[in-house]
């Protein structure tokens, strides 16, 4: 039961972060939403394992945290610290 409640909270947060990623309005908001979404996905996997009674797949959560970090930095590196003229509102 408690895992179900946590799962609902996690799914709602995922949805809210996704809506921010869909709507923008600036690129920075989208990157922020991506970062937040990644964190919530890690939580999603952890809670899902407990909800199904088989918390064996936490390796995946670790991988997601890692990929999220790398992905965010990759985007930042190309987008913000690169020499691109078109930043800001897209």
């Amino acid at each position: 039961m408690m895992f179900a409640i946590a799962m609902v909270a996690v799914l709602v947060t995922m949805g809210l972060a996704l809506i921010r990623a869909w709507r923008g309005p600036t690129v920075y908001d989208r990157i922020l939403a991506l970062n937040s979404f990644g964190t919530v996905t890690v939580l999603f996997i952890a809670v899902l394992g407990f909800l199904n009674g088989r918390p064996d797949f936490l390796d995946l959560a670790l991988l997601y945290a890692l990929i999220n970090f790398i992905g965010t930095f990759m985007i930042l590196r190309y987008f913000l610290f690169g020499n691109y003229e078109e930043q800001g509102v897209d």
Partner: protein, 139 residues
């Protein structure tokens, strides 16, 4: 001062753990999700992270482009080599049972060997593709 100071410090701290995690995924593939392909990708991601947060030149000092190219072939050759080894020992191509006396151990050894080959090949290919993509930008 560079904008990337804090990311650099954090990346320095994290990189060993990322690589260790890649090795865990590589060699624990018999027991948990994962295997050579995923491990190779994670390892390549670690190198790419290093190249992006520091510089591509720095990463090229760690793994030279030529070495990455050679490892591409080496990975595939490890896989093929296991196949030919089993043929040499009297079995069929990629028939691991002949590797040792115990079939269960043979399976484990064979899987470890081919997963290692896959991991090396995938990591080298990803790093090579990354180098090829970023290289023209610098000139």
């Amino acid at each position: 001062m560079s904008h990337l100071l804090i990311p650099r410090v954090i990346t320095k701290i994290l990189l060993p753990f990322i690589m260790l995690y890649a090795l865990y995924v590589q060699f624990h593939g018999d027991y948990s999700p994962g295997g050579g392909f995923q491990a190779g990708v994670i390892f390549a991601a670690a190198i790419i992270l290093y190249a992006m947060i520091f510089k591509v030149v720095e990463a090229e000092r760690v793994i030279k482009p030529g070495v990455a190219r050679a490892l591409m072939a080496v990975g595939l050759l490890i896989y093929l080599g296991v196949g030919f080894l089993t043929m040499f020992l009297g079995g069929n191509f990629l028939d691991y049972d002949v590797l040792t006396h115990d079939p269960s151990h043979s399976q484990h050894y064979g899987l470890l060997a081919i997963e290692f080959g896959v991991g090396v090949a995938v990591a080298a290919v990803m790093i090579t593709i990354f180098y090829s993509f970023v290289d023209p930008l610098r000139d």
